[in-house]
């Protein structure tokens, strides 16, 4: 089983709940689920949708065309109808039938033009009615449901309530049409509204009424519920990172609100009572909303100096503002973590859309030279573990760590397994022993280049953004300069020597391969999912997902690349930044690049078909799928 569903409607119109309801239902039915949220930089009114894929094997991407489309408004129908499989299912409120598809004020004028052309070409009229006839004629099962009538007649709901439960209605209908049992839907509803009993009850009634009504339309096999025993988490990437940070000992999170990072801080704030299995509080983090990102990085540094595991979480514009603070942290060997969720740039760009276009910037951000770690997660499980690793790396090497994520990971939801314990390494600590007359030297030269760290309050010490001597006092002496500079820089070499392979890169697929897909971040999911269909072309294909971006595991990566006949870079930016980085660090040219910068995530089929096109001789492929 491998089903793709889109539920769309106006932003703020309950799409979020609809999507989470569908996701949870499908998860409860024992399926593997991956859900992608797409929304405008807008609070209410613009088009938004949830794309859900459910399968009986783990998935990390979405696919087009979709099997089922649920529309809360006419805009959704006009926008997505062309993405529905012939033979698929389309559900909407029959009240929409007479609506125009093109006279919709929230629709971008460019989109209106394109839609008009499309309708004209396909010879479809401009109403929902006309569209549904067209779809029907292509074998699609079109199910306009008279929800209002149904809910007012069966449940005696007043109009506003009908509007408010429209999302549940549509979702219940489409899940039923997919063959999902009512019980699973009801369970999910119960969970989602667990804190609002009344709301839950109303929605449960809606589910009942709708399922009852839709039953007769069901043409699909019932989805068999698989019982699973292992405990899993259903999370967005933001949640994953929050959980990882909490498990990893984070106790100070600073942030300035920005999409798609802010939810993580919300999460930490709400989960703040860490309890052990006996129910006792074992610590609680402080989350501080700062006046700007400059303050966010500065406060996090302050916390780190005081010995607290500290992090800040941001996206591109905020990260730009942190460049100066990052450079201070580099100079002062501060173990601070910046969680950076990339979104569409440049500038404000596409603030709620996906991107992987800050890779090179994170590696070189901040004036001057200093060691840093940039660790990029490719899925939700990694995001959680890497949040812990980032905190560990930071303290172990006394360097700033950038945990690099993207809007894809941040906002997509999926299930992941649970590690109950993570390794925590706090690095070299000052043992409190000083000889008579000796003064604690924060930046003492040592054999391994790491100075024992005392926290503020444990000893007197100095920090300075200026070049400094071992004590931390300003020093412009050229020879001290050479030594202190090298002490900081040589950490990169050390980190590379000591980092485990799994932190450097992961190979997915066969160990011996003809061709290799090079990728990172959420795009990995699409590449891995595409392995099977790519494999059908007669060549062995594997996916190399790079994780450590700085220091870059050049020779480790080179080894994999050099074993491939063709390397194909797939990522969500214009330049092919990972391919550029590979050229810089490995001296190898990856000419084949499959790129997407529309702000929508790369899909499984885009990877598969691009691979095919590359085999046929194309070099640079620019993708554009998804609305």
């Amino acid at each position: 089983m491998d089903v793709n569903v889109v539920i769309g409607g106006p932003q703020g119109g309950g799409i979020e709940t609809a999507g989470m309801l569908a996701v949870r239902t499908l998860v409860m039915a024992g399926l593997e689920v991956f859900g992608d949220r797409e929304y405008h930089s807008n609070i209410k009114g613009k088009h938004s949708y949830f794309h859900i894929r459910a399968a009986d094997r783990p998935v990390g991407s979405i696919r087009y065309p979709v099997d089922v489309l649920g529309a809360l408004d006419a805009e959704t129908l006009g926008t997505h109808f062309h993405e529905v499989k012939d033979g698929g299912v389309v559900v909407y409120d029959s009240a929409l039938s007479s609506k125009s598809l093109t006279r919709i004020p929230s629709l971008d004028p460019i989109r209106v033009e394109r839609l008009k052309e499309d309708l004209l070409e396909r010879k479809i009229g401009e109403t929902v009615e006309a569209l549904s006839q067209y779809l029907g004629s292509r074998g699609t099962q079109v199910v306009p449901i008279p929800f209002s009538k149904l809910l007012s007649e069966v449940l005696k709901f007043p109009n506003p309530l009908i509007a408010r439960t429209m999302n549940t209605s549509i979702t219940a209908a489409l899940l039923t049409l997919m063959g999902v049992q009512q019980e699973a839907i009801s369970k999910a509803v119960g969970f989602l509204f667990r804190e609002k009993e009344e709301v839950a009850e109303l929605n449960l009634k809606v589910v009942e009424a709708v399922c009852d009504f839709v039953k007769s339309y069901v043409k699909r096999e019932p989805v068999a519920v698989r019982r699973r025993t292992e405990r899993r988490l259903l999370v967005a990437g933001n949640d994953s990172v929050a959980i990882g940070k909490l498990m990893g000992g984070l106790r100070l999170q600073t942030y300035y609100p920005i999409t798609p990072a802010a939810d993580e801080s919300f999460d930490i704030e709400e989960n703040f009572e860490l309890r052990d299995s006996a129910g006792n509080i074992i610590g609680n983090p402080v989350v501080v909303q700062t006046e700007d990102e400059i303050s966010a990085i500065a406060m996090a540094i302050g916390g780190a100096l005081a010995g607290t595991r500290s992090a800040t979480s941001t996206s591109g514009p905020g990260f730009s503002l942190m460049a100066e603070g990052l450079s201070w942290a580099g100079n002062n060997e501060v173990p601070v973590v910046i969680t950076h969720y990339q979104r569409g740039g440049p500038s404000t760009g596409l603030p709620t859309r996906h991107s992987q276009s800050d890779l090179l910037f994170t590696i070189f951000a901040g004036h001057g030279e200093f060691a840093r770690i940039v660790l990029a997660s490719g899925d939700h499980r990694e995001a959680m573990a890497d949040a812990v690793k980032s905190l560990n790396y930071a303290e172990r090497y006394q360097v700033p760590v950038i945990h690099l994520l993207d809007k894809g990971v941040a906002n997509c939801v999926t299930t992941t397994t649970l590690e109950e314990r993570f390794e925590i390494t706090r690095g070299k600590r000052f043992d409190g022993v000083l000889k008579e007359g000796e003064v604690y030297r924060r930046f003492r030269f040592t054999d391994d280049g790491i100075s024992p760290r005392a926290f503020l309050g444990e000893e007197t010490m100095w920090y300075s953004g200026d070049e400094h001597n071992e004590l931390g006092n300003i020093c412009e002496d050229p020879l001290n300069r050479n030594r202190m500079y090298a002490k900081r820089m040589e950490k990169s070499r050390r980190i590379m020597e000591e980092a485990p392979d799994e932190d450097k890169a992961l190979l997915h697929g066969p160990e011996r391969y003809d061709d290799l897909i090079l990728t990172w971040g959420i795009t990995k999911g699409a590449a891995v999912d595409a392995l099977e269909s790519m494999g059908r072309l007669g060549r062995r294909v594997a996916v190399l997902q790079v994780r450590m971006m700085e220091p870059f595991p050049g020779s480790y990566i080179s080894k994999f690349l050099s074993e491939a006949a063709q390397v194909i870079d797939v990522e969500a930016n214009y330049l092919g930044q990972l391919a550029e980085l590979v050229r810089l660090r490995c001296g190898m040219v990856v000419r084949n690049r499959v790129l997407k910068y529309t702000g929508r995530i790369v899909t499984e089929d885009e990877v598969a078909s691009s691979y095919e096109r590359i085999l046929k001789g194309e070099e640079r492929i620019v993708l554009w799928g998804g609305e």
């Binding site: 106790r251 406060m299 920090y463």
Partner: protein, 301 residues
């Protein structure tokens, strides 16, 4: 402990006659007289001539970024409220590039004392106008008279919610010392504007100017007596600040506002006993045994 013992031994590289020497002296005197624990004293500074001061003091010093000493200090204080956190910065640093943070500190009211080394110029970058320089004044390095209006740190501080505001003079170490002690004793966000002559770039503000343009407050009660007294006190401060002469002394003190530490404790019951820097986070190299259900139950399926 004598004030001498609060010298780190690093040579202060200020110009001869620089007001920073006076501040340095008064600070050490205050710390000595208050019998502070040097390990617990953290001086956080910005970049500028003023910003170098922590290096010269035998306490912990965090010589931060230009304009960002306040957020550095705030982070330190939040992580470990048991530290005594003091900020030193120039007028350019705190009231120019750092103005956003200066205002934010007032809104939070953590127990942090900010000392503004006000010399009306950007000392370390060779004498440009700082935000406190009066309009129409042309100090040594300026090509033209200054065309911006000055900010008054006391009035901005008051509008921002500071609960302790004072002004003193770098060359009157005794007065300054007392003001610093009062500031260190106050619980909450405090700011002291220190008139700090810069003989190198500021040819206007010298001893004579100070003699003619300042006046020690006498008979002035800076303390807000009751919440109802607040408006009147603020209006009076406004009057004081509109006088021809700059008033020296403690100008405003409001003891009715909760500190940021108290506020954090109000939403986070464990904060006081268990602030971030004091929390256990591992158990023999492993994360603590968090109860998944109790803590992360909402994500479980």
């Amino acid at each position: 402990m004598s004030s001498f013992e609060w010298s780190s031994g690093v040579w202060p590289d200020w110009c001869q006659g620089c007001g920073n020497f006076g501040i340095f002296t008064a600070l050490r005197m205050a710390l000595a007289e208050m019998g502070m624990d040097r390990k617990r004293v953290v001086l956080v500074s910005g970049i500028g001539c003023s910003g170098k001061i922590p290096h010269f003091v035998k306490a912990t010093g965090v010589h931060a970024l230009h304009g960002r000493s306040i957020p550095f200090a705030t982070g330190i204080k939040i992580a470990n409220p048991n530290l005594k956190v003091v900020v030193h910065g120039g007028d350019g640093d705190l009231l120019g590039i750092g103005m956003g943070h200066f205002v934010a500190l007032g809104r939070r009211n953590p127990d942090i004392l900010v000392m503004i080394h006000n010399n009306w110029v950007y000392g370390l970058t060779k004498g440009q106008a700082s935000p406190t320089l009066g309009r129409g004044i042309r100090t040594k390095a300026l090509a033209f008279p200054n065309i911006n209006d000055p900010v008054n740190p006391i009035l901005i501080g008051m509008a921002s919610g500071y609960t302790f505001l004072a002004r003193s003079y770098a060359y009157n170490a005794e007065h300054l010392k007392e003001v610093i002690k009062a500031g260190l004793s106050h619980r909450g966000a405090g700011a002291i504007e220190i008139i700090q002559p810069c003989p190198t770039w500021n040819n206007i503000v010298n001893m004579e100017w100070v003699a003619q343009n300042t006046q020690y407050l006498s008979g002035w009660d800076p303390v807000v007596a009751s919440e109802d007294d607040l408006l009147k006190k603020m209006q009076e401060v406004m009057r004081l600040e509109s006088m021809d002469k700059k008033q020296l002394g403690i100008i405003f003190e409001n003891r009715f506002k909760e500190t940021f530490e108290d506020r954090l404790a109000s939403i986070n019951g464990y904060y006081k006993d268990n602030p971030p820097a004091r929390q256990r986070i591992e158990d023999e190299g492993s994360s603590l045994p968090v109860s998944m259900d109790k803590t992360f139950g909402r994500y479980m399926v």
